[in-house]
Each structure stands twice: as C-alpha cells, then as structure tokens.
C-alpha cells in the first residue's frame, strides 16, 4: 500500500491498528518527493527528518505554504526579496499544529507573495499540475494543492486572498477550504491583503478538511482581526444527508466563457445533492460582474502598503546601486525593491500605489470599497432565501503553463467565481466533482453564511460520500523533466 496517497484519517486508523508508524509515513512521503518533485516542483524546502511525540494526537505530517512563518526555517513567499530570511517565530497555526503533535514536512511553492493564479511567478520556477504536467496547478497555493494531489503530501495549509486555496484545489482535484474571515489566526502569515487573507486546509477529502480545521481554527489575541466565536467540532458536521437544506444557484455565474464540461459537472453535482434531499432555488448576486475589478483595486492597494516593509533595512535582500542617484538610503530602497520583486509583484505594488495616490483615491480605492459593500449585500440578501450557494469554482479546467502569464486581465479573470467570498468574508470550499475529457479535474464551490463552515462540511461530505471523485489519483511518471 502507498501510505503517501492515503488520507490523514486513513493513516490515523492504520496507526491505531498498529499497521504503520509515523516514521514509515514520513519516509514514504520523502520517497514520493524524491521521485516526483523534479517534475512537479511543489516544494521549496523540506524537513530532513521528523519527530512526533509518542503520545501525539494527530502525528500526520503537514505541508505549509511558503508564506507562513516556521521558526528556524527560511520563509520567503517564494520571492527573491526574502531569500535568507529565517523566521524567528512560529505562526499561530504552526503552534497549534505542533500542540496537536503534527510534524512539519516542508514549505510549498507559491506565486510570489501570493500574487497570481498559476504558481508561475515563484522565484523557484513554476509548479506543474500532477494531472497534466504541461498545465498549471492554479495558484497561488499551487505547491500545496499539487503536493496533496501528487501524494507528495498527506495534507497542507494554504492561504486564500481571492481564491488562492479554492482555485488550485479545483485544478488539482483536491478539497480546499477558505474559512470565514477571522476564523483562523493570521498571526505569522506574511500579509498580502489584510482585509481578505485567510489560512485554510487543502486535503484529499472532506473529513481531513474538518480534522485540520478542528486544529487551526479559533480566536487568537495575537491577531486583532480574529473572531471570538466558539469553534465547534467540525467532524460532527460530516453528515451524509441534505434533507431540509435549500441551496441557491446564482444565475449570474453562468456566464459566457464557462466551459461546457464545467457546467455539466456542476449539473451532475446538483442532481446528486437533490437525491440526498437538498432543494435548489435560483438566487441573484447582481454585482458579480464587478467583483474582479473591485478586488484588483482593494487587494493591490493593501498589498502595496503591506509590501512597503520589504525595503532592505532589516532582513532578506539588500542591494546598493553602483552609481549614486538620490541619497544613499533611498537608492538602497529603490534598488533592493527593483531587484527583489518579480514582474507581477511590481505590477501590484505600482497599481496599489496608483489607486491610493492623491487625486485617484476617491475614483478608485473609495469607490472600490463602496462596491465591496454592494457585493456583500448581494450575499446577505441571497442567504435570506437559502442555506448555501453552489457555483463552479473556476470557469475552465487548468490552463497551459505560459498561456496567461503575459495577459494579467485574463489571468485575473480565472478567479472570477472565488473573489466574492473574500470581499464579503464568507466561508467557501472547493470540492472535486469530475474530470474533463482530457483528464483534468473540475471542482464546484459551496459558499455559506459567515461562521457556517459546518454547512459546507455537511453538503460537501454528502456529495463526496455519494460519488467517488475524491478517490482518484493521478499517475505520475518518476524523474525530472
């Protein structure tokens, strides 16, 4: 049996029965990484050995996106500007994982500073989709999604600012959850857009997602935006039945440009859930078409402010230009940031600085925040009539490497269905629901009211227990490219 392709709950059962050990699990993962990561490039660094306490509750290794601080580990956001930065502390989620006895397996590849939807903007080179290595895994948590799909990880954490957990989950055929804003502490997550960022799990099935959420969710005094809402036992929401639930289908999500295969997979999912008792109604989210524009004002604005701290003063990269231009310190700032940031990071810093600058603030940033209010209200109104909203996660399956890299607007539009959940703060999950004819995974997205993650788990679990998509694994060839 291949331990590395098992789910965490399957491994916990095997451990309980004495049929395997933590050491065996760890070495099966290291073997998989050695065999496949030359091709997939999901990891930027891995642990050499792992020690789990003998009495650990959940000693199943986890992989972590490269923007979450792990004490003593280089943590770089896959950017040149943070190379050689060694985190002096653990993020709150890492402390929580350690308390549960979960060993850390490695840091996974990502778009630089999480700016991207394809994991192509990493300074470590692109990650490849395990289902078709000529395609992107999605992004920005593409390393985490690809590692889980390829059996190079049992489960993983990512971060989601506009779809960065859900879109790669859909492209790689795994389960990805963006929790409610404030549900999981952001302390130690290197900030991209502070009003949108959330950490969440990428897992092989819904049960593992619930298990990981039980560990990472909760209030944290170190993050003043974390919510003081009690954390339920999410595994109790794993109910194989949707009787009495009303699920909304937003008419605005069936746009031109959505692939027929995605649409058919979604219709299949609706019929499975209907058979298990769910009632479907049409709902309206009239401001959907403005979500991407709103996001590309608010997210770069917050990013340009957050990235101001990477200036060569304290740690990471420092470059002094050879010829003096302004003053020694300003020259150092400007040269360090020019050399340290990649093309997409520069685009976002420039765009964010522009929309916040004097004379443009009202026309762009303030207007964007007002449209954000309209998008939130759409969801409030829709949830008066339904318990959850079902949509495609993405308009198409994974695209080819290089296809959208030089066309930012086309790249941004691949997040058209996921962005609204971040703007309105609601929880949303992507669940595998089939494959295209060419063998690429398709996912649906389920959204619920703030702090109603249990609703997502129930609907997703019902779907999963009545289908078999989550058991499919890609067949990767060994070796490099």
């Amino acid at each position: 049996m291949n331990l590395n392709t098992c789910t965490a709950h399957e491994l916990l059962d095997l451990l309980k029965q004495g049929k395997t050990s933590v050491g065996e699990i760890f070495s099966s993962l290291l073997t998989a990484i050695k065999t496949f990561d030359g091709t997939v490039n999901a990891y930027v660094r891995t642990a050499r050995s792992t020690e789990a306490a003998p009495d650990a509750k959940v000693p199943i290794p986890v992989s972590i996106k490269d923007n979450i601080n792990i004490e003593g580990w280089e943590t770089t956001c896959s950017s040149k500007i943070l190379k050689n930065y060694i985190a002096p502390y653990d993020a709150t989620v890492i402390q929580k994982l350690r308390s549960a006895g979960i060993p850390i397996l490695g840091h996974t590849n990502m778009d630089e500073f999480a700016f991207g939807s394809s994991t192509e903007t990493s300074c470590y080179g692109p990650t490849r989709n395990p289902w078709d290595t000529s395609c992107v895994p999605g992004g920005s948590s593409g390393g985490s999604a690809a590692a889980v799909a390829a059996g190079e990880a049992i489960w993983a954490l990512g971060s989601d600012t506009g779809g960065s957990i859900r879109q790669p989950a859909a492209f790689c055929g795994v389960v990805g959850l963006k929790p409610t804003y404030g549900r999981v502490s952001r302390y130690g997550l290197i900030a991209f857009a502070s009003s949108l960022d959330q950490i969440g799990p990428l897992t092989k099935d819904v049960t593992d997602s619930a298990l990981l959420m039980n560990i990472i969710a909760g209030h944290d005094t170190m993050d003043s935006t974390s919510a003081e809402v009690p954390v339920p036992d999410y595994t109790r929401a794993l109910i194989n039945d949707c009787k009495g639930l009303t699920i909304g289908i937003p008419k605005e999500y069936f746009i031109e440009g959505i692939s027929t295969e995605v649409k058919e997979a979604l219709e299949g999912a609706i019929s499975v859930l209907k058979n298990k008792g769910a009632r479907f109604i049409e709902v309206s989210l009239p401001h959907t078409e403005y979500a991407v524009s709103t996001y590309y004002i608010i997210a770069p604005a917050e990013a340009s402010s957050n990235l101001a701290r990477f200036d060569g003063v304290r740690f990471g990269l420092r470059v002094q230009p050879q010829k003096p231009r302004k003053s020694a310190i300003v020259d150092m700032y400007e040269e360090t940031r020019d050399r340290g940031f990649g093309r997409e990071a520069k685009r976002r810093v420039m765009l964010g600085t522009y929309v916040l600058s004097s004379g443009y603030y009202d026309a762009y940033y303030l207007r964007g925040q007002k449209v954000r209010t309209l998008i939130r209200r759409d969801f409030d109104t829709a949830f008066e009539h339904c318990d959850a909203i079902l949509t495609p996660t993405t308009p198409t399956t994974a695209f080819k490497i290089g296809e959208k890299l030089n066309d930012p607007v086309s790249m941004y539009l691949s997040d058209i269905f996921t962005i609204s959940a971040n703007l309105s703060g609601i929880p949303a999950m992507s669940v595998p629901c089939g494959f295209s004819k060419s063998g690429l995974p398709i996912g649906f997205q389920i959204c619920a009211k703030p702090f109603a993650e249990e609703m997502l788990f129930r609907i997703a679990y019902t779907y999963e227990q009545n289908t078999g998509w989550h058991k499919e694994r890609p067949s990767l060839k060994a070796g490099g490219l």
Binding site: P88, T294, Y354
Partner: protein, 95 residues
C-alpha cells in the same frame, strides 16, 4: 493611458526604481488593468458606505501587561547588517 511621467511618479512613491526596459510593458499592463476596472465608474454608489473590513469589530483592547516576546538578540539574529543592538542602514543624514 499610463504615461512614463505617471510611472516615474508612482515608482518614486513606491520606492521602487524601474529599469528603462521595464517601463513600456509596465505602462501597457497597468493601462489594460485600469481599462478593465473602469467598469466600476458606471455604478451609482451615492449613499453607499465603504467596507474597509468585514468583521463587526471596533477597537480591540487588551491589558497593558508585559508578556514574553522576541528578544533583541533573536530579532537581530538574521539582520542584513547590525551594530550596537540595532539594524544598520546606509547613512541617512549628511555630515
């Protein structure tokens, strides 16, 4: 349309110099993004309050008490350059 003058102004604000060959593609990229987000101008947002964050949080208070935190030594352990217990930077003030 974003001009080179705009780019110079924004990059100075962002403390990020751009090489000569970066200017044209950056102007094109920013212009295409701004063209796309111009669609927001057609919405009527009169009397709509802006959303800066989604949680119903106001001020978050805590006791003003000393808790364990990073030591000076640890905070400086991976500094690019340090002197006398502080981060060292290029000269800021003229002699």
């Amino acid at each position: 349309m974003i001009t080179n003058t705009d780019l110079q102004y924004i990059s100075a604000l962002a403390r990020m110099s751009l090489a000569e060959e970066e200017l044209k593609p950056m102007a094109e990229d920013l212009s295409s993004i701004l063209d796309y987000i111009a669609q927001l101008q057609k919405l009527d947002v009169t009397d709509i309050k802006p959303t800066s964050h989604v949680l119903p949080l106001k001020n978050v208070y805590r006791d003003d008490s000393i808790k364990p935190s990073l030591t000076q030594e640890k905070a400086l352990s991976f500094a690019i350059s340090k002197a006398k217990g502080a981060f060292k930077v290029p000269q800021i003030v003229d002699n």
